[in-house]
């Protein structure tokens, strides 16, 4: 099954790094990139997103606020915060929102682990 993944990061470089990792480990999945929370919400509300990977430190709405917003309509969507900010509070708040946490600098291993779990969850949900 090929899923649609939303990547939200204000940095183009960070989105390039993410896209590069996907081309290595999930080349058949499609990526939708947005640079901020508003565009991300607009994309999500069209219902075209299976999984979301969201930067924390962005101008305007931060990643955790965005996830809280997404959760209102999509309580079961696999979502992860992607950040170098590995402080307990950030990881703790992600957990409260039932979101994963992937540390920057991004590694294929960390992304792979999250995506495998997400795919499993989506398959279970579909049954």
């Amino acid at each position: 099954m090929n899923y649609k993944v939303l990547v939200v990061d204000d940095s183009k470089l960070a989105r390039m790094v993410m896209a590069s990792a996907f081309r290595r480990i999930r080349p058949d999945w499609s990526l939708i990139e947005t640079p901020n929370a508003d565009e991300a919400l607009a994309t999500v509300s069209k219902g075209a997103v299976d999984i979301a990977l969201i930067d924390f430190n962005m101008p305007g709405t931060d990643g955790l606020e965005l996830i809280a917003n997404i959760r209102k309509s999509y309580p079961g969507m696999p979502v992860a915060v992607v950040s170098a900010n590995v402080q307990d509070e950030i990881i703790g708040r992600a957990r409260q929102l039932d979101a994963g946490f992937i540390a920057k600098p991004l590694t294929d291993e960390a992304l792979e682990a999250f995506l495998s779990g997400a795919a499993l969850r989506l398959r279970k949900g579909a049954k």
């Binding site: 940095s11 470089l13 390039m16 790094v17 290595r24 080349p27 430190n57 900010n85 307990d88 509070e89």
Partner: protein, 215 residues
């Protein structure tokens, strides 16, 4: 030539901000371990400005009396990393690290050492992350403490006063303590050229890695 931010392309500016953001976010996580409380960060700013303009930027919204822990770094590019905060808050920062049970006298005694050590952990964490991301090695000097206004911190009166520098900075704030400050990186122009090269290598690397393994 009159360098300004337009000398950095959009993607260069983006890359530097993102790489600095990773460095500072990691460093803030170390600071969080030391103070036991959440450290809030702003989004990073990247500018090419004169030293004087940089000094004005750190004074903005701040008392003129600042204290900074600084470390020089050398490698493929060279410059200075600084942890800066208003002097009036340095004791509060030290107190948040050593614990509230210490007397004011103890805190004052410990100030210099605690600041140097804090700066060392934060700035090293920041620079080491940047070096690792770029696959380069950087040597770092021992931390030293500077007190004064923005001009003193950035050596505005020295020979290099009119020089343009690459100035990266991020605000930090310790939640529930009245402590805020900046982490700043300052690089001179010859270093900017070297850094641009390295950033380009990095971006090319991202593109090659994916095309090599795609499909």
């Amino acid at each position: 030539m009159n360098p300004n931010a337009s000398d950095l392309t959009e993607i260069e500016q983006d890359a530097l901000a993102e790489i600095a953001n990773m460095g500072v976010s990691r460093a803030a996580s170390s600071l969080r371990q030391m103070v036991g409380e959440q450290v809030l960060l702003s989004v990073p700013a990247v500018r090419i400005v004169t030293r004087e303009a940089a000094s004005k930027l750190v004074e903005r919204n701040n008392a003129k009396k600042l204290v900074a822990v600084q470390q020089s770094f050398e490698g493929p590019f060279a410059g200075k990393a600084l942890l800066i905060f208003p002097e009036a808050q340095s004791l509060e920062l030290v107190r948040s690290i050593v614990g509230d049970e210490h007397s004011l006298e103890d805190v004052i005694d410990l100030e210099q050492e605690a600041l140097a050590e804090t700066g060392n952990i934060i700035l090293n964490g920041c620079l080491a992350t940047i070096a690792n991301v770029l696959h380069r090695t950087m040597r770092m000097s021992l931390p030293s403490i500077v007190r004064g206004d923005g001009a003193t911190l950035f050596e505005v009166d020295g020979a290099a006063s009119g020089q343009f520098v690459l100035f990266l900075y991020i605000d930090f704030n310790i939640k529930s303590r009245d402590v805020h400050g900046f982490i700043a990186l300052l690089m001179d122009l010859p270093s900017i050229a070297a850094l641009k090269e390295i950033v380009h290598d990095f971006i090319r690397g991202i593109e090659q890695q994916s095309s090599g393994h795609a499909g």
